[in-house]
Symmetry: C2
Subunit: 248 residues, 2 copies
């Protein structure tokens, strides 16, 4: 028997546009996929507006509760980009123009022959003591302070920053999963499936209805941290479906 | 001068599959669009797992803070559908097989010649005192208790339930918005745009970078509850972009 290491995480997506419907978030699903792959359990997501109070409250609630907290959005150069201020306040430290980030951005704009405006300088702001999360797409770095990782909202940049960040994080035992497709709706399989779940307490069995406009079918997803445990539950789910088929 | 009515809301999306990445949520964006249209301000979204404690905590945190709380997911017939139990516990009331819902479902399965299994009976469960949110897609109702509206996770069903529910809710003064497209990145417009925001404090001006793989442009979204206020800010944003264009 092996001991699984459980590492937990939360995500905080920041932006009025996500709450007005103007922008449909793409970062939550991507983060979920990536964390599942490396063995970090995403336990909670919150979306809040560009509102300092709301961001501070959420950061403080989540950073105490989970091993890792990932944020997206609000680190650009405009007045509504207030994530660096809010995260600084959450940690009770000053928000400064980070010298290394200033040098990085200054050199980039000089190379491109563009003015290093006050607005662009805003992108170098981060809490005292933060370290960079590199941004190969558009240079302006994200940052990490303690267990909080602050990244951009633009999906291409969020994804690039996450790729830079992930290899440096503590990860756990990845969750293995398999999907058994059931031609029967949840109402037909619900009773026997609950029995299978009871028999395999070390797995988590989820049941996801699919609706094609006329009838329901079900995807049964089994998750476990050990291959043998997963295989035993899978066999019982398949046997359960065969039993239902024979009874029709 | 008119007085705007502000009505606030939160959403709680429930389901392991949203946090593992298996399912990419489609209900948050749809709810955001619909609420914006009718004049309800969506202020916060949370996603939690199929975990009773997590659901209870989130429901209680949100229902005290916002006028309306919309939930999605966890009301099907299987063992991992525990939203009715959790919401009942959040309100400190018993979770029962609602007699009206039992009659509705019983009749439907009889009509279809299908067995009304124990699993299917689970879909009639709701807190004592809850009223139905009708489900024209697949019959099994959602429910409302106080300011909490419990709906299905399957997008077609969530949308149908929301359509049933919305006309009965208290709504506010809708937010009007317009978008001005800027060919310049946020770094070029950030300074002057902050000035425009300062000059128009009754508007909320958001700036959304777009990245085509090579260069950034910006969508500037202005939001206000009065048409004249919106138009005045829009004119200043357009003038600002013209000034930048002339300076090049």
């Amino acid at each position: 028997m092996t001991t699984a290491t459980i590492v937990t995480a939360a995500m905080l997506a920041i932006g009025d546009e996500l709450l007005s419907g103007r922008t449909k978030d793409k970062n939550i699903g991507h983060l979920a996929d990536m964390l599942t792959m490396v063995g970090i359990d995403l336990r909670e997501v919150r979306i809040v507006a560009d509102d300092e109070e709301a961001i501070v409250d959420a950061v403080n609630a989540l950073r105490g509760r989970y091993d890792h907290v990932f944020t997206s959005g609000g680190i650009g150069p405009t007045h509504d980009d207030i994530t660096a201020d809010a995260v600084s306040r959450a940690f009770g430290v000053e928000c400064i123009h980070d010298p290394e980030a200033m040098a990085l951005l200054g050199a980039m704009y000089e190379r491109r022959g563009m003015e290093f405006t006050d607005a662009r300088r805003r992108m170098a702001r981060m809490p005292v003591g933060a370290t960079h999360i590199s941004n190969p797409v558009s240079t302006a770095p994200g940052f990490r302070i303690a267990n909080v990782y602050v990244m951009a909202g633009v999906p291409q940049v969020f994804q690039a920053m996450l790729d830079s960040l992930l290899p440096s994080l503590q990860t756990g035992t990845p969750v293995l999963s398999c999907t058994v497709r059931s031609p029967y709706g949840e109402g037909d399989i619900g009773g026997p499936l609950a029995e299978v779940q009871k028999k395999h307490p070390e797995t988590s069995i989820g049941s996801y209805p699919k609706f094609d406009g006329k009838t329901f079918s079900t995807d049964i997803v089994i998750r476990a941290r050990e291959a043998a445990v997963l295989a035993a539950a899978e066999a019982d789910v398949v046997a359960m479906i065969e039993t239902i088929a024979r009874s029709r």
